[in-house]
């Protein structure tokens, strides 16, 4: 099927498959070459998790939902996207071409995007330099969720190039220095830290659950107090870095609070939010929930203090434990090399605490708040 600029439709109208291969070629006759990349944005059109930015320095997304295929060729890329495996919060998969060099997209000789599934051609959009004016970066095509996965042949762009395009999506252009962050972390011995405060001997009926996949859930009966502890290793690659623990919480009566083991937002035991944050020299920080039944929803988070980003070797684990010794462990398995804030899990209460693993990274507290919509007043 020949696709036109502006063309939209349901993927299900093209194929029953949810695994789509996307091949993009831009023959460029200007000086320089065209870089082609793919990234995902959330419902606010924001690039909230840059692990879902797939390009030459990061050839696949965390769970391989998006993979760059084949050897690198100038001006051409192929990607495989497994739409049904992408996390629910990602709403758009965007394919962009940007010029690394002089000139603009009017210098394109020709180009195309070809969609295939199981080796069958689904559609092809062919473009030429005269379709464009001064754009230095183009959104070629995107997949997006609207009831179901759909495609949109965009063919529009930004004169300011990739940095202008990424700015619109709330991101920043990768520079050479940040690109080096994608290289393997140097192998050095991580300093092991002792286990946190010894837990009470669990009763024989107690349960221990580990949530290792995003979206996975577990419950705690909610016998108060519920203790939440963070453990991690000091990382030689960012020796000063500390992880801190905190939560954003909305109580059943509508009051909202943010607590963290840093600064003065340490909560209260006997009044709302009935949660306290205990800072133990930046290691083994803890939160204690005294009245789980007051919680409407809670976002548990950790963030990097005294360093610009997460280290791969923190080995951070958040452990929730109720009074009876039942525990739920949430290990952080895919630290984002360029972000400071990690939404660890969401919690709500209906006779028990329901914990859902998130492990979703954000630039800062405010971006996370925008995503989870607590709507705090940030100053």
């Amino acid at each position: 099927m020949d696709l036109l600029r502006g063309h939209r439709g349901k993927i299900s109208a093209l194929t029953t498959s949810q695994v789509i291969e996307v091949e993009i070629l831009c023959r460029y006759k200007g000086k320089g070459e065209v870089d082609i990349s793919c990234f995902c944005v959330d419902s606010d059109n924001k690039l909230s998790d840059d692990r879902y930015f797939v390009f030459y320095n990061q050839p696949k997304s965390p769970l391989g939902e998006i993979v760059k295929l084949g050897a690198q060729e100038a001006n051409k890329e192929r990607f495989r996207v497994e739409l049904n495996r992408l996390p629910e919060f990602l709403k758009h998969v965007i394919f962009v071409a940007s010029i690394d060099g002089e000139g603009d997209m009017s210098f394109l000789d020709s180009g195309y995007v070809l969609l295939t599934a199981n080796g069958q051609e689904l559609g092809r959009y062919v473009f030429k330099g005269k379709d464009f004016r001064q754009e230095k970066a183009l959104i070629i095509i995107e997949f997006y969720r609207k009831d179901e996965w759909r495609f949109s042949v965009v063919g529009q762009g930004f004169n300011g190039g990739l940095s202008a395009l990424l700015k619109y999506y709330g991101g920043e252009e990768e520079t050479d220095t940040s690109a080096s962050a994608h290289e393997p972390t140097p192998k050095t011995t991580a300093v092991p830290v002792p286990a946190p405060t010894p837990a009470p001997t669990p009763a024989s009926t107690s349960t221990a659950t580990t949530l290792s996949q995003n979206g996975q859930t577990a419950s705690l009966k909610g016998v108060a107090p519920v203790n939440i502890a963070l453990t991690y290793r000091r990382s030689p690659s960012v020796p000063k870095a500390e992880l801190r623990l905190g939560c954003m919480v909305e109580l059943k009566d509508g009051q909202k609070f943010m607590l963290q083991t840093l600064g003065s937002h340490l909560g209260h035991k006997d009044s709302a939010p009935y949660i306290t944050a205990q800072q133990n020299s930046g290691q083994f920080d803890e939160l204690t929930i005294y009245k789980p039944e007051q919680i409407k929803r809670l976002l548990l988070f950790t963030f990097v203090y005294l360093a610009p980003n997460f280290a791969k070797d923190f080995g951070a684990v958040v452990i929730l434990k109720d009074k009876n010794g039942n525990s739920v462990r949430v290990p952080l398995l895919a630290p984002s090399p360029s972000q400071k804030f990690c939404a660890v899990a969401t919690i709500d209460f209906d006779n028990k605490l329901n914990i859902k693993r998130e492990e979703c990274y954000f630039t800062n507290h405010q971006f996370a708040d925008q995503h989870y919509k607590f709507n705090f007043n940030w100053v």
Binding site: L4, Q134, I139, V154, Q156
Partner: protein, 191 residues
């Protein structure tokens, strides 16, 4: 609200017997990428029994905002889609529509679509809807971005007289050509 399939008829009496004042709203998002603005236009053609305008005065659009009887009023041209909610609105007072007008046809077109090489699919969140102005109840809506992506003009629907009542027919038909050819088709003398 009723989801419309092409050609479906809705009896307004049955659906919304209180209908006296109609609001036809056209909305879209301003362009965020670089390039010519998206300028969508809502228009209304007041048609006699032969399906043509009685005179050029029955063509209500950005350059002629009211009819002579004061029954149809366009609130003005929006050139970019800037702003919240409906970006262009046409009000109809059904009780004031002259008796020899049998049909009101509502259309949406993209200004200079050919020259700017634009279509509805390139515009974000473009829709046209019919609302009961008195109750604010939405009676019909067409998602232009999703369902008319490769079109540049569309006949959205027709309000027409049937047994002393007004009915609405969702046409949802793409039109090959801009506002000029569309107007000529309805019998307007376009210069």
């Amino acid at each position: 609200m009723i989801s419309l399939s092409k050609g479906g008829n809705i009896s307004l009496e049955k659906e919304d017997p209180s209908l006296e004042n109609v609001h036809v709203g056209l909305g879209w998002d301003a362009r965020v990428t670089d390039g010519a603005d998206f300028d969508l236009d809502a228009s209304c053609f007041m048609l006699g029994p032969n399906g043509k305008v009685r005179s050029d005065a029955d063509f209500i659009f950005y350059n002629q905002l009211k009819d002579q009887a004061g029954s149809v009023e366009h609130t003005g041209d929006n050139l970019t889609g800037d702003g919240e909610g409906d970006d262009e609105v046409i009000y109809v007072h059904l009780g004031k529509v002259p008796q020899d007008v049998k049909t009101l046809a509502f259309t949406v077109t993209i200004h200079k679509a050919d020259e700017r090489r634009q279509n509805f699919g390139m515009v974000s969140s473009a829709y046209i809807r019919l609302v009961n102005k008195d109750t604010n109840k939405e009676i019909a809506r067409y998602d232009l971005t999703e369902d008319a992506s490769t079109n540049t003009a569309m006949i959205f629907g027709e309000l027409y007289r049937h047994n002393n009542a007004w009915k609405f027919k969702a046409v949802g038909q793409g039109y090959d050509g801009g506002l000029g050819p569309l107007a000529r088709n309805y019998g307007v003398n376009v210069g």
